[in-house]
């Protein structure tokens, strides 16, 4: 059995001995590094995106900044991975570790549950300890409440939320005349429910003739075999499926549908990378559609192509799974440079209403009212034709087929943020 290594998590440079917690004495001599805490699951079995996301962020920090003289006059960026084991309690522990070691920026996004817990904790921490404030960069948790009812001055989201993605998805479906019966199935929790309700309301508005033939919720992480659900989909005569599933639930559902010989488009949020593309492979071709704010293929410019090639060279077994992380890092650094400091309050102000051209050549904008990022949203298809960068080294990858420009993705803000004083 060839010893395949998966979790490469080398702590770049730490001086703490294994004591209970004798603190980090950062060497004063060399330019003091700006340390960014990456709090996502590194262990646990349900979903493995935590590690590949860390590699992308860590590599981007070196590739774009450290190798080019650092930030704020030569200070290197250092990304420290902290394992939260996908639990709210452990996220708090790791947050406290980050604060102990003087980190002022936290990047996380694995699940909406952890993100909302972290956002509330940071809001409380900042109001109780003004001297050690922390800024929260959410790169993937899509629960609309995070920039809606539960929005916070210290939380910035670098991904479109569920309703925005549903707008794009339902527009793409509406544009397809031969879809008349849509089946919605999701995991029984806030995100799954949000996708369900959004699908029903938006399709009713855009294509009243489309019939929602099923709106099913299944327990998260409990379903071993999706066949009973699939036989319901088949008997409903659906000619399109919408699902927000991720991890093992996405793989099992995707494979179940394709195994049953159901040749219908499946609209998803997370049906790519970390073993999912490889596992779906041929049976998913031209069926799996993913709504996301990235353009894996065709690549628009050389900056993105060079970055991806460099990343693949350094990590052959991994893919650039979360390009949003690079966008977030670039905007964060731009705000630091503009504010001339790493103080979270000033960086937050500088980031509000900021526009930036990403490595993929697209323009993104961070709205000030609710700290929600807007970027062009795409519908890409799982195929092996026209794929310059595949995932899981499977020959299959995502090719963008439908794009909605930034302006059209803007949804009005429902956030009433309590803005802290200096």
């Amino acid at each position: 059995m060839h010893l395949m290594s998966s979790a490469t998590r080398l702590l770049r440079r730490h001086t703490t001995a294994l004591g209970l917690c004798c603190l980090l004495a950062t060497p004063a001599g060399a330019q003091e590094p700006i340390r960014i805490a990456f709090i996502d699951p590194q262990s646990g079995t349900f979903d493995a995106t935590g590690e590949s996301a860390y590699k992308v962020l860590d590599f981007a920090a070196d590739y774009f900044f450290n190798s080019r003289g650092g930030v704020l006059g030569g200070r290197p960026l250092e990304v420290v991975a902290l394992d939260n084991k996908a639990s709210a309690a452990d996220s708090q522990l790791q947050l406290r570790r980050a604060i102990s070691e003087g980190m002022q920026f936290v990047v996380s996004g694995q699940s909406s549950a952890v993100a909302s817990a972290l956002s509330t904790t940071i809001e409380r921490h900042n109001s109780r300890n003004p001297e050690s404030r922390v800024l929260f960069i959410n790169y993937a948790a899509v629960d609309p409440l995070l920039t809606g009812a539960d929005c916070s001055f210290w939380h910035f989201r670098f991904d479109a939320h569920a309703d925005m993605k549903m707008e794009v998805m339902t527009s793409h479906i509406a544009a397809n005349p031969d879809i008349r019966r849509v089946y919605v199935i999701g995991q029984d929790y806030s995100f799954g429910q949000a996708v369900g309700t959004a699908a029903v309301t938006m399709l009713a508005a855009k294509r009243p003739d489309i019939q929602i033939v099923g709106n099913e919720l299944h327990p998260i992480g409990q379903v071993k075999d999706f066949t009973p659900y699939i036989s319901k989909i088949v008997s409903s005569g659906a000619d399109a499926v919408i699902t927000g599933n991720w991890g093992a639930d996405m793989v099992a559902l995707g494979r179940g549908i394709t195994d049953a010989g159901l040749d219908v488009p499946i609209y998803t949020f997370y049906a790519a990378h970390d073993g999912i593309t490889g596992t779906l492979g041929e049976s998913g071709k031209n069926r799996i559609h993913v709504v996301h704010n990235d353009r894996a293929n065709p690549v628009l410019n050389d900056v993105r192509r060079d970055f991806t090639l460099a990343f693949k060279a350094a990590n052959p077994a991994l893919d650039v799974t979360q390009p949003r992380l690079v966008n977030a890092l670039m905007m964060l650094v731009a705000a630091m440079e503009a504010a001339g400091t790493t103080d979270p309050y000033d960086v937050a102000l500088a980031m509000e209403d900021r526009r930036l051209t990403t490595m993929t050549g697209e323009e993104i904008w961070m709205r000030a009212d609710d700290h929600q990022l807007f970027a062009p949203l795409n519908v890409s298809v799982h195929t092996n034709e026209g794929v310059e960068f595949d995932s899981d080294n499977s020959g299959y990858g995502l090719v963008t087929r439908f794009t909605v420009p930034l302006e059209d993705t803007i949804a009005e803000s429902s956030c009433h943020m309590t803005r802290p004083t200096r």
Binding site: S5, L18, L20, C21, S100, S112, A113, R124
Partner: protein, 412 residues
């Protein structure tokens, strides 16, 4: 008298600890330890003292925690005004009530039937926590801000250190409470029913009733631990009452040692450190934890405190000196063997780039480093095999009953 001194030292230690480990991380680990100790001790009331192996003890911890966080939420929205100091008691009462209900039908038998019922109830509640969203808050859980509670002598518990003192106070009360319980008729009968349920019946006691009392008391203290969790983390999620949390407390009690009262305390401290610190240095910490656990079950059935207790006999006979030399002789190759094996495992996780292991630069790519580590491991293993018999002999001699102590004991 001697126990009074011990309790005073314990109280003093609790006061001093936050001064030594005063960093934000240090205090939060201490808080976590306090919660884990109360939870592990309440578990040992069932397993170590009462002989009831439960795979669902996190149910009482979780339910207590959820009710506590709901109480904090009601205080936050001004419908109630419960001081934060009493929140753990709210958790405890909820754990008590849950144990009253579940204990009524599960304490009929100990052994496998009890274990299976506890597993069934645990899984039942964990699965339903994602359905009853109004109480369990679905997968986002339920969160509340503790600073809205009426201040306690001017303290609003915003800072972690203040929470530490609340947790330490409850820790002291709980440990004392559970210690005293084991010194009461009901506590001592729990041991009797553990050893021989049938004989206890012939002395006038229903084994089911005795187990039931221990079960309810354990539920109460598990609820307190849940309440402390709610105060410290200000959030409860479905993960707090699933099988993994029940498994964690089983590890703590077993590695610490079931037979001795303070066993679970040592287990809780050790595992909290491993859970919060080790995962910072290696992604394989869960593997090492699994190995430590399996080896403990196989070679140290009475846990770490059991190992210490085994040394009481030679210590009483002043023969401890005999063991020092063989211990060091076996410890060195043993340590080298373990470290080299860990090195091999860690290196397997590093695909490219420099890999510095204990200060020694190694290259995962080159066969040289693998061979070197392997050679060190083999040498250490051989050395270990030669020194082990020495240790066994010394151990046999140290624990042999000296004739003098035999005469004293055999008058009939």
């Amino acid at each position: 008298m001697r126990t009074l001194v011990l309790w005073a030292v314990f109280a003093l230690l609790l006061m001093v600890l936050p001064l030594i480990f005063d960093s934000v991380l240090g205090v939060s680990i201490l808080n976590q330890m306090a919660i884990a100790i109360v939870f592990a001790l309440s578990y040992n009331l069932l397993l170590g003292q009462g002989g009831m192996l439960s795979f669902g003890h996190a149910v009482y911890f979780g339910l207590g925690g959820f009710l506590a966080v709901h109480a904090m939420l009601l205080t936050e929205t001004q419908t109630l005004a419960i001081p934060l100091v009493l929140i753990p008691l709210v958790g405890g009462l909820c754990g008590l009530v849950a144990a009253l209900f579940i204990g009524s039908f599960s304490t009929g038998r100990a052994g496998t039937v009890f274990a299976m019922i506890s597993l069934g109830v645990g899984e039942l509640l964990a699965a339903s926590s994602l359905i009853l969203v109004s109480f369990f808050g679905g997968e986002r859980g339920v969160s509340a801000d503790r600073t809205f509670a009426p201040p306690f002598f001017g303290v609003d518990f915003a800072q972690d250190v203040q929470v530490y003192f609340l947790a330490a106070a409850w820790l002291f009360v709980s440990v004392l409470g559970m210690y005293l319980f084991t010194r009461t008729p009901a506590g001592r009968l729990a041991n009797a029913v553990r050893d021989n349920p049938e004989r206890a019946q012939f002395l006038g006691y229903s084994a089911q009733r005795v187990r039931f009392i221990s079960f309810v008391v354990a539920g109460f203290f598990a609820g307190i631990a849940g309440g402390l969790f709610a105060v410290n983390y200000e959030i409860l999620t479905a993960g707090n009452l699933n099988a993994a949390s029940s498994g964690q407390v089983l590890l703590m009690a077993y590695i610490g040692g079931l037979g001795v009262f303070i066993g679970p305390i040592i287990g809780a401290v050790l595992l909290t450190l491993i859970n919060s610190l080790f995962n910072h240095y290696t992604t394989l910490w869960m593997l090492y934890l699994g190995l430590v656990f399996v080896l403990t079950v196989m070679f140290l059935p009475r846990g770490l405190t059991g190992l210490l207790m085994m040394h009481r006999l030679p210590w009483q006979q002043g023969r401890l000196g005999l063991l020092i030399r063989p211990y060091t002789l076996t410890a060195i190759p043993g340590a080298v063997l373990v470290l080299s094996l860990i090195g091999l495992l860690e290196m397997s996780q590093r695909e490219t780039g420099p890999f510095v292991y204990l200060g020694i630069p190694l290259a995962p790519g080159s066969a040289m480093s693998w061979l070197a580590l392997l050679a060190v491991a083999v040498i250490a293993f051989v050395a270990l095999r030669r020194t082990l018999p020495g240790l066994r002999a010394a151990w046999a001699e140290a624990t042999a009953q000296s004739p003098r102590s035999l005469e004293k004991g055999d008058a009939t």
